[in-house]
């Protein structure tokens, strides 16, 4: 049989579009499911819009001062006399979250490596199940434990650090009270972000190419040699992504921080001192007795927190996604 199409005529052939007419039921069904799927989008827009419009008066009145000053005073409830600034809370949120990251980091790496390359298959299965359960411990319990069990211990550690390293500015204190400091809060947060950061990191480590690991062994490398030559470079972006996801969690954490941190409206970098800030905890602690004007300020603070965590999470998930794409 002769094939009639040659390259000359191929371009003149029009390709048919395959079309179908869906039944009425299916069209309704597709619309319905699509509408349901867009809930998340609608809710996100609503949250952003509501926080923005409710906080608009505050943004208009204070402008950039809202994020660069630290006075929080509702005064007589009029915008002329009131002063609202979340700088101390914002800086405090970041400081506490960064402490959590720094503390958690070595444990995340060690745990991910242990589960993936040191534990036997059976042990790994058991430990991963336990870790999943630990990730489900609610933050109120972390807060309770942090306040009643960890804080007395951590205050002692803080005193020791202050005694020997107090000459470094961030470890100095003005008053020797080490309770409810960003350090204590950071330790609790470190524990809380450990499971998520660990599981993301472990996931990426587990995809480290086996042929390269074997090549490292075949060159006479030790287990650590193979990990350093292959696994750690391969998993670097996964580790960063996992830590950033943890950072997002830490920034948004409310109750555990509320219970373990003394909120003070002053920008401070003395992490051992009993004074810190957290935007999320500010909202939870003030909303009960807020005047209508202060409520607007809290909405504005909520928007700042919303945008901040959204940015961190976007960064984190795009890094993780890129790390996973690279494997395939």
């Amino acid at each position: 049989m002769a094939i009639a199409i040659d390259s000359g005529t191929a371009s003149s052939i029009e390709r048919r579009k395959i079309s179908e007419k869906r039944s009425l039921g299916d069209r309704v069904f597709r619309r319905g499911v699509t509408a349901g799927a867009l809930t998340s989008f609608v809710v996100m827009c609503f949250i952003a819009a509501l926080l923005f419009f409710r906080g608009f008066e505050i943004f208009r009145a204070f402008g950039l001062d809202f994020v660069t000053t630290s006075t929080w005073d509702a005064a007589d409830g009029t915008i002329e006399n009131a002063k609202f600034g979340v700088a101390a809370m914002l800086v405090g949120s970041i400081v506490t979250a960064v402490i959590a990251m720094v503390v958690a980091f070595p444990f995340v790496v060690a745990s991910a490596l242990f589960l993936e390359f040191y534990a036997s298959k059976k042990l790994k299965f058991i430990l991963v199940s336990i870790l999943d359960l630990m990730a489900a411990i609610p933050s109120i319990i972390y807060g309770l434990w942090g306040y009643l069990v960890l804080m007395p211990l951590a205050a002692g550690w803080a005193a020791t650090i202050n005694k020997y390293l107090g000459w470094i500015p961030i470890f100095g204190v003005e008053v020797e009270n080490f309770d409810a400091s960003p350090f204590v809060s950071g330790l609790v947060l470190a524990l809380m972000i450990l499971p998520i950061a660990m599981s993301v990191t472990r996931e990426v480590y587990s995809r480290a190419p086996l042929d390269q690991i074997q090549a490292a062994y075949a060159l006479g490398g030790s287990r650590w040699g193979a990990i350093r030559a292959v696994v750690l470079p391969f998993g670097r972006s996964g580790l960063v992504g996992g830590m950033l996801l943890g950072l997002g969690r830490a920034l948004g954490e409310t109750i555990a921080v509320l219970l373990t941190l003394n909120l003070v409206f002053e920008v401070k970098f003395q992490i051992l001192a009993s004074a810190g800030g957290s935007v999320a905890s500010l909202i939870a602690s003030r909303i009960g007795e807020a005047t209508p004007l202060e409520l607007k300020a809290l909405m504005a603070a909520g928007l700042v927190l919303f945008v901040l965590t959204l940015l961190v999470n976007f960064g984190a998930s795009s890094i993780v996604a890129r790390a996973e794409r690279r494997v395939q």
Binding site: K121, P209, D211, Q212, Q214, A215, A216, Y217, A218, L219, G220, G221, S222, G225, A226, A229, V230, P233, F234
Partner: protein, 292 residues
């Protein structure tokens, strides 16, 4: 073909007395056992391998005299690669793996209880089926990776680098871009980079597991040239599916067959004998492409 014939007819390497090609198939290595153990080189005695309860290799006794190239041929799934990986103790990476028998390297049993595995792998290098340079390292770092991993002190790293890349036939192509990532090379270049990497730790034996199966014919020829050059100073064991390749590069050939049973050696002899006058009908059928 030409080089291969040169080699096998080289009297200093293969005097008829030393390599009695006319001996019955399968008994050649066992009959030479006592002498071989005292020889330098690599010998296996009665090797068996299992994965779980699956018996994949049965009673493999082979010897690989120093500075020769031995090709392991046979259909897929006959256990050649498993056997190869047992020679530098990579077999044990598979959790269900077990084995029996002995492997001697210069008279030392590599599965003995007090042996340092890393030291064995330094002496018995390996090139894998798929090129696997470390993508996070530059070309130069890749070549010297083994030195770093094993913490070997080398005085002149630059000359070692040049030497290894030259022996792997890659120096001319990469000498101006040693700082580039190893992943930036073509597949064939990557495989030669892996050979250079394996050579840098000065192994006595180099194992190659179908090193050309993922490469184009041009790269394959270059790697075969490299193998020829290497065999002056190093013992090479190469697994290959390609009959022509086995004929071109190897001095000896061992034909593996599983055929429903655990893999065994049907015939092991000088390559020219295996290819031109095999003793076993199955070998003849296989090398002439009638199955496999």
């Amino acid at each position: 073909m030409e080089t291969s014939q040169n080699k096998t007819s080289n009297p200093s390497l293969f005097t008829p007395g030393k390599m009695p090609a006319e001996m019955p198939i399968g008994t050649r290595s066992t009959s030479l056992d006592e002498r071989m153990v005292n020889m330098s080189g690599l010998q296996t005695k009665g090797i068996h391998a299992w994965f779980g309860s699956h018996h994949v290799l049965e009673d493999i006794s082979l010897d690989f005299p120093s500075n020769t190239v031995t090709g392991l041929i046979g259909p897929s799934g006959c256990g050649k690669s498993t056997f190869l990986r047992m020679l530098n103790r990579m077999h044990e990476f598979i959790p269900s793996a077990s084995m029996a028998g002995e492997v001697f390297l210069d008279g030392e049993e590599i599965y003995a209880a007090d042996v340092d595995v890393a030291a064995i792998r330094l002496q018995v290098g390996m090139v894998f089926q798929k090129p696997n340079p470390f993508p996070s390292m530059t070309i130069a770092e890749n070549v010297l990776a083994g030195i770093k991993l094993a913490n070997i002190k080398v005085k002149d790293k630059d000359s070692l680098l040049e030497e290894c890349l030259t022996r792997a036939g890659l120096w001319k192509e990469v000498k101006d871009r040693l700082k580039l990532s190893g992943a930036s090379l073509s597949g064939g270049q990557q495989q030669r980079l892996c050979i250079a990497r394996a050579l840098a730790v000065k192994p006595k034996v180099l194992l190659m597991d179908e090193p050309c199966s993922a490469l184009d014919p041009g790269s394959t020829l270059k790697i075969e040239d490299t193998i020829h050059e290497l065999s002056d100073t190093i013992t090479v064991v190469i697994v290959t599916h390609n009959m022509q390749q086995a004929a071109r590069v190897s001095d000896y050939c061992a034909f593996f067959l599983s055929d429903g049973h655990p893999g065994r050696i049907v015939e092991a002899d000088r390559t020219d004998v295996v290819f031109t006058s095999p003793k076993d009908q199955r070998t003849a059928d296989y090398v002439q492409g009638r199955f496999g």
